[in-house]
Symmetry: C2
Subunit: 349 residues, 2 copies
DNA sequence: AACCGCTATGTTAACGCTAACAGGGCGAAA
DNA sequence: TTTCGCCCTGTTAGCGTTAACATAGCGGTT
């Protein structure tokens, strides 16, 4: 008994026409069935669906998008996927978009402005329904493209600056100030800063600026600092902590620009019998989930990542469904400080 | 002094026609310039480029793709972005694709077969140049779609099973066996297993199968096991380790299905003064970078993630440039065992 | 001067689908 | 029975770009 193959070699890719021929109705009707649009009798609907299924037909969105000038894609442009922060933002975005027709498409810039510009150009050439892009700093050309795209643009993560359209994020300057304030209130005096070398991580820079500003207001300044780039952040955190403590042994607080290096520092201190937070206090930034498993809870500040993703996606969804929506929304979330076990909780006098 | 806006409100989106009118040549010539295809005089080229730049024109790939029936997208379908493993695979893919016209588009399935099917359908409807998809297990419908798509398909991560087209990965069964062998050789006898509850993580399952198989060959079996789902993997690793050791205190080895929970277990043991690897040996799986920063190096097995991404992307690239290429490539990488500090290195007798 | 072979540009017809409108058929109201 | 209106289905005309072919011009040959 020979088994007749259902599809005798798919030479030419399938089109609506193939389905229409098999099911004996017009292409238009097939299109209507496949999109659940317009009235189609139950009998026809089933006939068409069966034909489509039997053939293994997959609609061609390229053609569909061109004809309807509707593209259900949302461009999401972020600096990196290995930072954990961004996958979490993606989670928030997906949560919202999963309930809609819209679909996220991710582009990664590696923190390079020229890559951002290229990725953006590439994305816009697919005519997406909206753009979610990290940060407020872009090349002139990128800003021009975003401004002229005629679609909703949401800049995320950061609210310290001028937005093109909508913004969702936190004030990193304020986050830096808040942390500095807590450190000062707890009575620490000799503070070290450890961060990334990247001059293009504007948000880390802004946190640092807010931090030093608030310290200055309390008559303090950063006593020593140490920067890194590349490599395993956890291991780097260890090394940097060792380095800075050897150089300036009387530091009584270390502020890390992210939780990963902060965690490395914490492990270093514990390994070396340093009393935390008595002898030295520690704090990071981000509130990443994995801190929960450490021997001691690192003080940190939650950057509301999932929430940012959700809010940004919601703006795109709202505007996509109602083109009359005005725009220029500003959602400024408030990062909460978590003292953990590494920052003394002392009431301000 | 009023500043004249360059673009007086971009009502109707720009098309080739707009550029052609401004630059005074035909649409075809503009198209040629913008794609660097065919001979165009230097004078015309510059005129066109200037017009395009001034207008802020961004080509419409939807139309371009339809006309040329060429889409420079590669669909990448993976279970998750929060697993670290997958961002690393993405890194490998990007490394290769960045040198080409091709661009990755990511779809996430959350380990759910029906999501995978839906994501795949969605992706295929954009008629990509190739598909890179994690795993060998798919729904029947998904397999049918992949088989009929008529484009290169590379299934990645796993080589234990039947592939549709090309495969790049490691044998997880073999990886499990190899680890079991090392554990047996080191003289451990009472072995516990800790892993995810997910019945759909086929690769973890295959590792476990290989593991028990090799133990059996040595006359041993898994003495106790513990499973988890959700939550911070590091914290879960701690909890599970505590649970299993309370239940079965005389275990002398713990094999974790991934490094994150393994790291949690390691931290637990260190916190509780358990002698590692003397009293208890530990091992994980994946070789994730962040292990470098831990107080002690967890034994693990490198899953060659970046390498897998590179090889998979290379296959797509090769086939895209040479449609005559036959296909059905099988690239089976060999995971290397890293003893770290938590698995005794004892020569087999 | 007629002709060749270029190079640089233009013209035409898809690509596969959907918006918008145009009927055909049929039951209900008059 | 006629007429209106409602379902359901079909027809036509693009969407913005590119492949393929057509052609204008121009210097160099013979």
């Amino acid at each position: 008994m020979t088994q007749t193959p259902v599809r005798p070699i798919p030479k030419r890719p399938l089109t609506l026409r193939d389905v229409s021929e098999v099911s004996g109705v017009s292409e238009m009707t097939v299109s209507r069935v496949l999109r659940n649009r317009g009235d189609v009798s139950e009998a026809t609907r089933e006939k068409v669906l069966k034909a489509a299924r039997d053939l293994g037909y997959v609609p061609n969105k390229i053609a569909g998008a061109l004809a309807s000038s509707r593209v259900n894609l949302v461009a999401v442009i972020i600096p990196s996927l290995s930072n954990m922060v961004f996958p979490e933002v993606m989670t928030g975005i997906s949560e919202i978009l999963d309930d809609t027709e819209l679909q996220p498409v991710v582009g990664v810039t590696h923190y390079k402005p020229e890559r951002e510009e290229a990725v953006l150009y590439e994305m816009l050439s697919w005519r997406p329904s909206g753009v979610i892009i990290a940060g407020l700093e872009h090349t002139e050309a990128a800003k021009a493209m975003l401004g002229a795209a005629g679609i909703p643009i949401v800049e995320i993560m950061d609210t310290d600056g001028v937005a093109i359209d909508a913004v969702v994020g936190i004030s990193h300057r304020r986050a830096g100030r808040k942390m500095a304030q807590a450190i000062v209130d707890a009575g620490y005096k000799k503070i070290g800063f450890l961060g990334t070398k990247m001059p293009l991580d504007h948000r880390a820079r802004k946190r640092f600026e807010g931090f030093t500003e608030a310290l200055a207001k309390a008559g303090l300044e950063v006593a020593d600092q140490e920067f890194y780039s590349g490599g395993s952040a956890l291991a780097k955190g260890r090394e940097m902590t060792e380095t800075i403590l050897n150089r300036t042994p009387d530091l009584d607080f270390l502020y890390y620009s992210n939780d990963m290096i902060g965690a490395g520092g914490l492990l270093y201190c514990l390994d070396n019998g340093i009393d935390v937070p008595g002898q030295i206090g520690l704090a990071g930034f981000n509130g990443i989930e994995f801190l929960d498993g450490l021997p001691r809870q690192l003080a940190t500040m939650d950057a509301c990542r999932v929430e940012i993703g959700r809010a940004a996606a919601q703006i795109i969804v709202d505007r996509a469904s109602d083109p009359a929506a005005v725009g220029k929304e500003v959602v400024s979330l408030d990062p909460s400080l978590d003292f953990g076990d590494t920052l003394k909780r002392i009431k301000k006098v």
